[in-house]
Every structure is written in structure tokens, then in C-alpha cells.
């Protein structure tokens, strides 16, 4: 069996198993379905890893139905697997498997639709990462979306979950329409849907229509990626979604949206828009920084632990958007490593929050004050996760930040990593702040006048059932992996090689349209990460300092007043996150208009 045949199997097998599970679900015991789903997840992980490995010897192109290009014109639908896409697909399958394992003991009774929807979701994610066809990408975008809405509202008796899923569904549908409008404009111009074919047809000249098409596609995909001001759905949906699903949402789905923007830019538009790099970079960095700090400030002081983690995901999206905005191979390399490191860390943290919900019945930090004292495994896991979020060495996030730092210096934006470091440290600090309250009862008591927010009902069975070994094992394994990624020798140079391949437009055109055999991956030497050791440690120290300030500032003279002033300053920001879906739609419209106008005005 050649690696080429694995490309369609990696997304078709989970779909087929999902259909099988739906058919036999009512007649077989739950554990059979779970085991089937986990086995499928493992198969996909291995298949995608093999694909990614094979792709290092040359990008793999699979034409469905044998519709290969004739005379250099591609009509068929193709999967184009490069090392970056293959690795992210493998990562998506890996996280799905971990989430399914976590759900094994998390739910007493989950019902057959759960594995069916999880497998569908995983299949869509894998297809999304592997496809080389613009419309095919849209279809996977929608398939992923529909499975995700249904999973978010999985506990239909919980109305906040249904409302969160509603906002998620409405905003992502509008995002999908934007993508489709962009695709229609591109198709109208080029008559092609294959990315390489479009790129070839667009040539190197940009006009208003192409800029508009790119703005639509990018805005639509960035709704999924939760860029401010498209991010409102994320916090509402993540806070209420079943915990195993949050692992996938925060770990890979949101980042998939950004990956798609990068993919579409480099594989489709980079030729035509290449002359406007500076403009695009400025616009994206502005949006990215706004996102990073919106997320970081909203994250700080959240009482709902899952919502806190959701806002931290928004902050990290901002960081990733800035990494992409560097528009260089090294920026892409940093982005991919950061996605892996962050996804593992955030997955582990969400699993810890799930364990809290499972054992103590709530994730409200104030209600959990001091209640975590015996759970040493949980405390250590959350503390390590918090430091990893900040970007402490040797976690994967640190390696990613280090690559982003060098990439930013290459394009003359040496200040950018330092600003991003503050946002990352704020998210790490807010997790530590919550942990200090939950584990040791530190920090000022909550304002009694403040309205107690409405909290979800416990997702799963409660009660003392002994030490949740399986769930802690999953969480700890993900955190350990997050650390291991940062320690793999040559990980940085492999990422740089994958980044070079990712941005190589001419190479992709040759491989896809002319069917020239691909070349093995070059492994450019990476700068030693020791050069960013200082900034990594600084981020960790800052995170601890932020947490200490939040926990103990009220004991300092005039510390309480300072806290109040800060709270008042953040009030407007909190107020716009109001949970009203119509407002979110208005923000989406405004954001799209802003992005489109900024690009159109400067790219003429």
C-alpha cells in the first residue's frame, strides 16, 4: 500500500465507521461503540502520521476518481498533503483519540450519537487539513461545523449549552457564507477550484475583485479561528460544550480556521497579492494584537474556569494570527509548532476542568475556593499547564514562540514577540490565579454585591467514585506531550523545512499541475533556542507575578483601590461580551467591513 492510498482513507474510514456506529448503535453495548471509535481514532493518527512522513519525501497529490490534470489543467478534486498539513491532520486525530479515551470514564451514559458525531467531526478536520481544493475545503468546513454545533448542544437539557450552540451555529454559518462568496468570486474569475490551478490562473496581478475575494474567504475562515471581533461565539460555546469536545475545539478546531487562511493565502493568493505583503502584514498584526489582548484581559479574573480557558484560547489565536502575519516560512513554522504545543497544553487543562466538574460538580472558581486541596495530581497538572500557556521552556509553546521571535526579527518587527509575551503571560497568570484560589483559598473573597453568574449543571455523573485514574492519565499525558514536543531534537529545523514547503507556491504549482515529482524536505538549520531562553523564563516569571498581584494585591496599601480601578477599566470590555447573538452578528458584520475596507483601501 502506498502512502497515496492512505490520503482518502484517513478521512473516509472515520466517516464509514461513524455511519456504522449510527446503524448498530441501538443494538450493541456502549463500550463496543467507544472501542470502535477509539480504534478508528488510532488508525487515523497512524495513517496521517505516515502520510506526513511520506510527504517529507515530496508533497503527495491524490486525485479522486483518477481525474488527473490534462495538459496542465486540473478539473478533478485533489488532496494535496504537505508535511505541515499532514502533521496537523495527525495531531487532530491524536487529540480526538485522547478526547474519546477521556470520555470513556467521563460519561456513565453518553448514547450512540456521541461517538458518531465525534468521528464525523474528526473526519471533517482531517479532510480540512489534507484537501487541495477550495470548494472541498468549504464542504469540510461546514461538515465540521454541523458536527460541532450538534456536539456543543449534546446535553439538550442544559439550556445554556443549547444557546451557546445556537450562537456558534449562527456565526459560523455566516462565516461559511462569506467563504462561499469569496470562492464564487474566485471561480468566476478563474473557472477553477483547485488551489494550484486558481493560483496559476490568477497570475501575479491583483485587482479589486481578487482583494475582495481574499477578504471574504479570510474573514469567513477567521470566524472559525475566533479573531476579534468574530470571537464572541467561542467563549459562549466552549464554556458549555462537553469537556471532551472542548479539548478538540480549543486544541485544533479554532487553529484549523487559521491554518486554512494560511493555506489559502500561500497556495492561492500569494502570487497575486505578493506585492502587498506589507499592507496585509500591518492589517493582520493589528487584528491579531487586538485579539490577543481582548482574550488576555477577558481571561484574567474569570470565575468560570472553562470560560477562562476559552478566553485564553482567544488570546493565543491572536498570537498565532501575528505569527501568520509575518508572512514568512519561518512565521508559518513557528505557528505550526505553537499550534501543537498550545493544543496539547489546552487539551490537558480542559481535561483537568472536566475532572473538577465531574468530581466537585462545578467549575466556578469561587465555589471551589480551597476545595482542591487534596488533588495533588490536578494541582500540578494545572500549574504546569499554566506555565506552558505562558511559554515557559521547555514546553512546545516555548519552541513555537522562539521560532516566531526569530521570524519577527527577520522582517524587522523585533518588538512584536515582547508584546505577545505579555498576552501569553496574562493567560498563564489567570490560570495560576484561579488555581491559587481553588487549591489554597488565596486571594480576596468575591464581591458579595456582584451578581453570581449562572452556571451549568454538571455534565456527567457526580459523586465520589475514587481517584479518576483514566481521566488524570489522559490529562497528564497531554501535558507531558506538550513538554516532549519542545524537547524533540531537530523539531525546529523540521518545522522550518515544512514551513519552506508550505509557502513554496512555484513548487506546489509544479507538483500539482505538471505532476513533477516532489523533492525531499530540506532541513534548514534552526537558530539555537537557547537565544530565547531569557524571554521564555521572563514569560513564566511574569505569569507568576500577574497571578500573585491578583491574589495578594488587596493586602498591599492602596492595592484594593488599584484593583477596583482596573476592574472599572475592564468593565466596557466585559459588557460587550453580553451573550446576545444579534449583537455578535452585528460585530461580525462590522469586523468583515473593517477587514475588507482596510485591505481594499491599501491594496489598490
Amino acid at each position: 500500500m502506498t502512502p497515496e492510498t492512505l490520503a482518502p482513507l484517513a478521512f473516509a474510514v472515520p466517516l464509514a465507521v461513524a455511519a456504522l456506529c449510527a446503524a448498530i448503535g441501538p443494538f450493541v453495548p456502549r463500550r463496543v461503540l467507544d472501542a470502535l471509535a477509539i480504534a478508528t481514532g488510532l488508525f487515523c493518527t497512524v495513517a496521517c502520521a505516515l502520510l506526513a512522513q511520506a510527504a517529507t519525501r515530496g508533497t503527495i497529490v491524490h486525485w479522486f476518481g483518477g481525474w488527473t490534470p490534462r495538459h496542465g489543467i486540473a478539473l478533478g478534486i485533489a488532496f494535496t498533503v504537505d508535511p505541515a498539513g499532514g502533521a496537523l491532520a495527525a495531531f487532530a486525530a491524536f487529540l480526538s483519540t485522547a478526547a474519546l479515551l477521556f470520555a470513556w470514564t467521563y460519561y456513565d451514559e453518553s448514547g450512540p450519537p456521541f461517538p458518531v458525531l465525534m468521528l464525523t467531526f474528526m473526519s471533517a478536520l482531517i479532510g480540512f487539513f489534507l484537501t487541495g481544493d477550495l470548494f472541498n475545503m468549504f464542504v469540510f468546513f461546514e461538515l465540521m461545523g454541523v458536527a460541532a454545533y450538534a456536539l456543543t448542544a449534546y446535553r439538550t437539557e442544559d439550556e445554556s449549552a443549547v444557546l451557546g450552540a445556537f450562537a456558534f451555529g449562527v456565526l459560523n454559518s455566516v462565516g461559511a457564507f462569506l467563504v462561499l462568496l469569496g470562492i464564487a468570486l474566485v471561480y468566476g474569475r478563474t473557472g477553477a477550484l483547485n488551489m494550484a490551478q486558481i493560483s496559476h490562473a490568477l497570475g501575479t496581478h491583483a485587482d479589486a475583485l481578487i482583494v475582495l475575494a481574499f477578504a471574504f474567504v479570510a474573514a469567513g475562515l477567521l470566524v472559525k479561528a475566533a479573531l476579534a471581533p468574530f470571537h464572541f461565539w467561542l467563549a459562549d460555546a466552549h464554556a458549555v460544550a462537553p469537556t471532551p469536545l472542548c479539548v478538540l475545539f480549543s486544541g485544533i478546531m479554532v487553529q484549523a480556521g487559521l491554518y486554512a487562511v494560511a493555506r489559502v493565502y500561500w497556495s492561492v493568493f500569494s502570487g497575486a497579492l505578493g506585492g502587498h505583503e506589507q499592507t496585509l502584514r500591518t492589517v493582520l498584526i493589528v487584528f491579531g494584537l487586538v485579539t490577543a489582548f481582548t482574550g488576555a484581559f477577558m481571561c484574567f479574573g474569570q470565575r468560570h474556569f472553562k470560560r477562562l480557558l476559552a478566553f485564553s484560547t482567544i488570546a493565543h489565536t491572536g498570537i498565532l494570527v501575528c505569527a501568520f502575519a509575518l508572512l514568512s516560512a519561518h512565521g508559518v513554522a513557528g505557528m505550526i509548532v505553537y499550534v501543537l504545543g498550545h493544543g496539547l497544553t489546552k487539551g490537558g487543562l480542559f481535561m483537568c476542568s472536566g475532572i473538577l466538574l465531574n468530581r466537585l460538580g462545578t467549575v466556578d472558581v469561587e465555589q471551589l475556593r480551597g476545595k482542591l486541596s487534596g488533588e495533588w495530581v490536578g494541582i500540578v497538572a494545572i500549574a504546569l499547564g499554566a506555565l506552558a500557556l505562558a511559554g515557559m521552556p521547555p514546553f512546545g509553546t516555548f519552541l513555537g514562540s522562539s521560532l516566531i521571535e526569530h521570524a519577527a526579527e527577520d522582517v524587522g518587527l523585533g518588538w512584536l514577540p515582547w508584546v505577545l509575551l505579555i498576552a501569553a503571560a496574562l493567560t498563564g497568570g489567570s490560570v495560576l490565579n484561579a488555581l491559587g484560589r481553588m487549591a489554597f483559598g488565596w486571594g480576596p473573597p468575591p464581591d458579595p454585591e456582584a451578581k453570581t453568574p449562572q452556571f451549568e449543571s454538571p455534565e456527567a455523573n457526580q459523586g465520589d467514585k475514587g481517584f479518576p485514574l483514566m481521566m488524570y492519565a489522559c490529562a497528564a499525558f497531554l501535558i507531558v506531550c506538550a513538554c516532549a514536543i519542545g524537547l524533540i531534537p531537530r523539531a525546529a529545523s523540521a518545522a522550518l523545512g515544512a514551513g519552506e514547503r508550505f509557502v513554496d507556491r512555484a513548487g506546489q504549482l509544479a507538483i500539482v499541475l505538471k505532476e513533477t515529482p516532489g523533492a525531499p524536505l530540506a532541513l534548514p538549520p534552526a537558530e539555537p533556542i537557547t537565544s530565547s531562553l531569557a524571554s521564555g523564563l521572563l514569560a513564566a516569571v511574569l505569569a507568576v507575578a500577574f497571578a500573585a498581584l491578583a491574589l495578594f494585591a488587596h493586602r498591599l496599601p492602596s492595592g484594593a483601590d488599584a484593583t477596583k480601578v482596573l476592574e472599572t477599566m475592564l468593565k466596557p470590555l466585559r459588557r460587550i461580551h453580553d451573550g446576545v447573538v444579534t449583537d455578535y452578528v452585528a460585530w461580525l458584520a462590522a469586523g468583515t467591513a473593517a477587514l475588507g475596507t482596510a485591505l481594499a483601501a491599501w491594496m489598490r
Binding site: 443549547v162 451557546g164 445556537f166 462561499l180 471561480y187 451573550g579 446576545v580 444579534t582 458584520a589
Partner: protein, 115 residues
């Protein structure tokens, strides 16, 4: 001329649908506005494949070489409709569920979470 008109119609329908969603006071109304927004994508996709004076791309009863509209856009629109129907059905089910619990569909009254 027809090209410009179709673009204008698509843009208008899209904006009107978005406006309806942003000002909606009822979740069912909001979902219908979402469908209106989606209709703009049908108009645009069909327009880019349309050719004046051409026939439908069904070649069983016409001679080869006759001008036909682009069959790809038909497939795209059909996929779009299927996907849209799925999402709409799911959202309507959510709205029903919410109404059963809270006896209201006003998004302002349904704030699940704040801050």
C-alpha cells in the same frame, strides 16, 4: 448588464439578511434571516456560471457543441443548499428546545452568560 444586476442583487440580499439578523428579536426570525443571507450565495454562484442564451447543461437531447451554462455551479449551489438545510434544521431544533425551557425566543431575554 445582467452580470452587474446579479452582483447587486447578491450584495443586497446578503446585507438585508445580515441586517435582519442583527436586529432580530426572535430566534426563529433570526434563522430565517440566516437563510435569506445564504440565498445571496446562490445568486452569486449561479451568476458566475451563467451564459447568455445558453441551455441547461443536460446533453441527452441537444447536439454537442451547443452553448450550455457551467454545470459546476449547479453542483456547488446544490451542495450549498444541502449544507444550509442541515444547519437550518439543527438551529431550528435548538430554538424549539430553548423555547420549551424558557417560554421565550427573544435573544435579549435569553442571555446565557455575561462578562
Amino acid at each position: 448588464m445582467i452580470g452587474f444586476l446579479a452582483f447587486a442583487v447578491a450584495a443586497w440580499v446578503f446585507v438585508v439578511g445580515l441586517y435582519g439578523m442583527a436586529t432580530s428579536r426572535n430566534l426563529i426570525h433570526l434563522i430565517l434571516c440566516l437563510s435569506v443571507t445564504q440565498s445571496s450565495t446562490y445568486v452569486l454562484i449561479l451568476e458566475v456560471g451563467y451564459r447568455l442564451g445558453a441551455t441547461a447543461p443536460v446533453f441527452s437531447d441537444v447536439l454537442p457543441g451547443v452553448r450550455a451554462v457551467d454545470p459546476v455551479v449547479d453542483a456547488l449551489t446544490l451542495t450549498d443548499i444541502v449544507v444550509g438545510a442541515t444547519a437550518t434544521a439543527l438551529l431550528l431544533a435548538f430554538a424549539l428546545r430553548v423555547h420549551k425551557k424558557r417560554q421565550t425566543l427573544d435573544p435579549e431575554a435569553l442571555r446565557p452568560m455575561q462578562g
